[in-house]
Chain length 460, copies 2
């Protein structure tokens, strides 16, 4: 049986017991014969106060000289409740210092640093309380995703990362090659030869697992993916990354209303799991995000708004707000329109649905009016588009008529799904980092993924 | 609330109730006034028998002409227990045919096809009972992985796919570029210029998340990764892929014994979850894998063997078996040795540990004898190496002495972990597809991942 030789700080419940804890010094205060340490072990943003008394600890002076912010310790002692400070503390009996820190060189030695500054040290920033709270919540959201879809009978499918398909051609793709440049002086190398490439030519990194996911939904019934996705776009914004994680469920035999119910249920479940499991982290994050928890609870408790694109055009053209860009039926909504709808008009997460056919992807199911498709975007206050989904056109002829000749050739395998036992089905894609931003109230997407990749940045 | 308009076949428990089911025709038998269909919906390898009686169903003749293997249906009816056949069946009241099949063209229309043949249609093969059973078990193993590590307080971390690090330099990497070839005639294109590349030069696909994982374990304490990994190796075997999924836990403050306990516990937990949740699938797979379930139960119930590399050399040199390759202390073990140990000598999963320093990676922790490292491989009958793990060298000077000058420069960030608050820690990597092979008894790794990528194969 696997069993740790120490207890995690988050698991300490009973006082007046002996425990061993391990972790890193977050804050310390040294007096002549006593040292106070706030020890963090990554299990919670809460630190355990350690009291080191020169009477009880031999090598007190040695320890005193070596304890710095960031040094790693194993401490054995008794945990008591300190009534005056109203928190637990450990009276140390034994201390081992595993690792020291040269405070003058330690890049994150200061107690208050901006997210921008610590972003320069992506390998160390998880040691800050802010990033570790965000990453614990990211973990809870990932666990919630697996629990939710598993509970409703969807199977987790790993669609390929290396693919010859670029889905809807929506974004620039990264091309891969198994050949190294032959020298480092920017000399041209031969690329793209069938003979030399290990996997053949034209292989790129996936921009979406949807089409592959559909093939699996046509056998397993209901599936979801959760994996990395790539866009080679030169976007330097606080909501775009070149590498991000996406969740894409695909369900057979459902209808458009059920698809929206699914998306709403899933988002609410994720948030409620964080409220249940990350109380300390949310409390910590709320210090710089007023009303974060209140806003999350509101999302869980209220029905999302559902409105058609056509109604949205009416709302936008009949409101008092002056937009920079006018919008007419048939136009794409821009960020200012989407923000107005979710943040000012409905003041809650809002499904916009039944978009004009011509501004949406070829695989989306046409409504009976033939001018609109059963597509929906979920717009969320502060985030913008969190989810994009649709029913898929299951009719072979209708689907073909929406595809170019090249598409029909390259996606002949996809057309097989409509040739053989086609079914009504639909799904959506959710950018996982945007969900983490929403739940943690984080402004910049680069702070919610361990190693952010964006133009000119691929650190380590 | 999300709610389906039909019930999954696997969820039908009560008989004499009215239900609606949706799925695909697996087998059919047509008589003059009655049609029997075995309907599969992907929730279980078990099909539901549907009885379509010309007296009860209008359009009987139309339906009769359109039902083929692979066509998709919605059927409403009453489920009764058929005593003579000893199984449930549904007496149809209403039928909708969603999608037909041209049997002459349908690539998987035959009832018995080899795995090799259906592999040629990776977008359709999930419709076979064999592949869908394997993929449901793959799903259970993924869910079990998240449950196991989450239960013991490890946080899920998404280490980057695009990276400038090739970990141990163990395998050939795929290089990525954001530039498309400018034409399709195999003309050379300019590659690798900092100015032209979106992410800068020297970016490749990850071969392991370990080093990045270690940085996060140094803040969160205990973490695990579960993501895609890439090797640009020209290996055409039944156990290698160019793209595969790997699970890499990394735990701070543990020791070498605890690391082996962890690996053993985790593997047993995964298998026991499949035994619990995939009884039907295992029963189905056992038809071509004698004693599959018995062998899995044995793995769960017995202690794994644990033996040092030095003991292994003794065993190999003093047994009756004639090996093609002699082995002396200091040599790498080859497949025949590993197979003999796990399959003939110990006859169970076997940890080989304390390997010679010179045949293992630079980051592995040196034992006191200085000739061996705290590394372990888990060898499993029929599979070979399932897990490779080690304690990591936490001492800055010792680690530096094992690295080349280039490594020390390129991995300076990794050395920061030893400069600032270093801790004892260790972890392992498990190739997820090998675990799926083990649990499903599947010979070829290409059949346990949805879209296998191997030399010259990157289909769709």
């Amino acid at each position: 049986m696997f069993k740790r030789s120490y207890i995690k700080i988050n698991d300490i419940i009973n006082v007046n017991n002996n425990y061993t804890v391990c972790g890193w010094v977050h804050i310390f205060r040294k007096q002549k014969n006593i040292i106070f340490i706030d020890l963090n072990d990554g299990s919670t943003p809460e630190c355990l106060s350690i009291v080191i008394d020169s009477v009880k600890i031999k090598d007190f002076d040695d320890i005193k000289s070596r304890v710095k912010k960031g040094s790693s310790l194993r401490v054995e002692g008794v945990v008591i409740f300190n009534e005056s400070r109203c928190c637990n503390e450990m009276i140390a009996k034994n201390i081992i210092i595993y690792g020291e820190v040269d405070a003058a060189k330690y890049p994150i030695s200061k107690n208050k640093m901006s997210l921008e500054t610590i972003r320069e040290n992506p390998h160390l920033r998880i040691r800050t309380l802010m990033i570790s709270s965000i990453m614990r919540i990211r973990d809870t959201l990932a666990q919630a995703t697996h629990k939710y879809f598993s509970n409703i009978g969807c199977r987790y499918v790993n669609t390929p990362i290396l693919t010859t398909n670029d889905c809807e051609g929506a974004g620039e793709t990264f091309t891969i090659t198994s050949q190294y440049p032959t020298n480092k002086d920017d000399k041209p190398i031969y690329y793209g030869s069938d003979k030399k490439e290990l996997l053949g030519r034209g292989v790129n990194l996936t921009v979406s697992g949807q089409l592959h996911g559909e093939t699996y939904a046509a056998g397993l019934g209901d599936i979801y993916t959760f994996g990395p996705t790539f866009r080679a776009e030169n976007s330097n914004t606080n909501k775009h990354l070149c590498e991000f994680w996406m969740i894409e469920p695909e369900l057979s035999f459902i209808n458009f209303k059920e698809l929206q119910d699914l998306a709403e249920d899933y988002v609410k479940y994720c948030i409620s799991q964080v409220i249940m499991y990350n109380e300390d982290d949310l409390y910590f994050l709320e210090k710089r995000n007023e009303d974060l928890v209140f806003r999350l609870k509101e999302i869980v408790c209220e029905d999302f708004a559902r409105v058609t694109y056509t109604e949205v055009i009416d709302i936008l053209n009949n409101c008092d707000k002056e937009f920079e860009q006018k919008v007419e039926w048939g136009d794409d909504l821009s960020t200012e329109h989407e923000r107005y709808l979710a943040e000012e008009h409905f003041k809650k997460p809002t499904f916009v649905k039944d978009y004009p056919t011509k501004i949406k992807s070829f695989y989306m199911k046409t409504n009976e009016d033939e001018n609109t498709v059963q597509a929906t975007d979920l717009l969320v206050p502060g985030i913008g588009e969190l989810i994009g989904g649709s029913m898929r056109e299951e009719d072979y002829d209708k689907l073909c008529s929406r595809m170019t000749k090249t598409q029909r050739k390259e996606l002949n395998w996809y057309l097989d799904l409509r040739r053989y036992g086609t079914t009504p089905h639909g799904g959506f894609g959710l950018g996982f980092e945007r969900l983490v931003q929403l739940v943690t109230g984080t402004h910049n997407i680069r702070d919610v993924i361990p190693y952010p990749r964006y133009p000119k940045h691929c650190t380590f």
